[in-house]
Amino acid sequence: MKQQNRWAFWLLVPTLILIAVVIGYPVISAIVMSFQRDPVIGPDGFFTDGGFAGFQNYLAWFFQQCPAASGGTQACPAGTLGAQFWSAMGNTFFFTIVTVTLETVIGFWMAVIMARSFRGRGLLRAAVLVPWAIPTAVTAKLFFFMFAFDGVINKTFGTAILWTGSEWPAKFAIIIADTWKTTPFMALLILAGLQMIPAEVYEAAKVDGASAWQRFRMITLPMVKPALMVAILFRTLDALRMFDLPYILTGGANGTTTLSILVVDQIRSGFNLASALSTITFVVIFLVAFLFVRFLGANAVQSATGGKKK
């Protein structure tokens, strides 16, 4: 054990140092920055260094307060970045809940079909990997083209919807594109879970006269639950940081700004305020992950490592 400790230490050190440099350092400096005031142009025309701000940057986001010309603060005017915090938060959760729900249901169905044995199953499993392999930026451009006013979707369905140009259609365009792109990943994770269920269990249930629905509810669901929970956790955390799709598809217009987009928009008009927002985003994602693991029993660490076997 002692010798193994030493071995493990030296094998892990390079990875842990790299993670500390590329993640630990930026995160800590973001937190430090978030407590600094952004420099402002003073009446003399020079930049004044902001200094310590306390929780001011955070409060500015939560209460949507912007600096007023008179020196104090005022409610941010509509359309400014500061006025979009709660709508961005709402959009982020709306997209997350809707896409993850759709992806879970459709992904489950895909996984059930993929788990059956039939000729051409290999083709099906290969086809499912195609959306996953396409870069999200390309997916966004592809759906932007298909959702164009003259595009194939309007023409096929005989509609005349300004998909990316009006609020609800824009939201749906993003949801459809995201569902297309990421359902396969979900389906493959669920499929791997399904394949762990021994066939004899189904045979036994059949002999006992269980209907297809009963077999699904009493065997499949409970036995696939650990894998399903981890898949939902992964996808939820991924959806909460959604950026590429809405950024390219709609540019965040028409009620599609997510927290990530708001951070990126804010960067060039104030690092410290942007740092506060990115820290909020990080904490929100962390809290969701914590709640998942705590209350829904999605134990990613344990399942990623095969449990405490040794």
Binding site: A133, I134, P135, V138, T220, L240, V264
Partner: protein, 293 residues
Amino acid sequence: MSTVATPANVPLNPKASRQVQWAQGRTYFQALIIVLWCLAPFYWMVATAFRPTSATFETTLWPTAPTWENFVTAFSTERGNHFGQALFNSVLVGVVVTLIALLVGVFAAYALARLNFRFKFVVLGIILGASMFPGVALITPLFELFSTLGWIGQYQALIIPNISFVLPLTVYTLVSFFREMPWELEEAARMDGCTQGQAFRKVIMPLAAPAVFTTAILAFIASWNEFLIASQLSDQNTQTVTVAIASFSGALPQQEPYTAVMAAGTIVTVPLVIMVLVFQRKIVAGLTAGGVK
């Protein structure tokens, strides 16, 4: 689920046989819907890439006047697009990031899969947490730091942040591959007088090669597909393909050069799709490695 697995040697009465056929038919029908749903948008991109600009919005299944013109436009630098350069940049960043992640991650994964040590679960938690980390939490301080250092527009400004998500992915994919390997061989080699280091080099490395290769593909794809970091921390010289495609400009500012963008998208995607189809089994194993066990 097992309806189809009826053994062939059991004589079926006509009714049961019809039932099996019916179930089989339903499976095929649903499989067909899934295949169409997954492939149709991809097919539309490739088909549009071959349509002349004047027929951008034509809805025939097959381009009526197929042309290579869009691929030429995609690489042309006349309108301020640098797609060729971006391809090179993406390959360079992807290869360097993958190599660094593998070089470092392989040792960590070995330790996590094979050794017993204190704080093992803490380390695993850190690595898994790191892989779920939101990119926006890093982007602001990195933007400020790299601006100060004058690194915006240099490759390290893309390589360093990409390691933040490629390295954890590499480690946990490798850990789950390594757990499945026949480690008895290592013990056998040690019985024959190899040191732990020798056993690792001579026995384990050759065995682990396929796992490392699959992980390399997943790591490269992750880096290749990255957009957020590249869109903020690159300039025209270091722009990656995803950024180049997202900001592709046409002849007129208000006119989207759809066909050229679809051609560029095809160039970026087709090699990936081929790679994924060739290594399908391994990639699925690697993808789902972290999820179940």
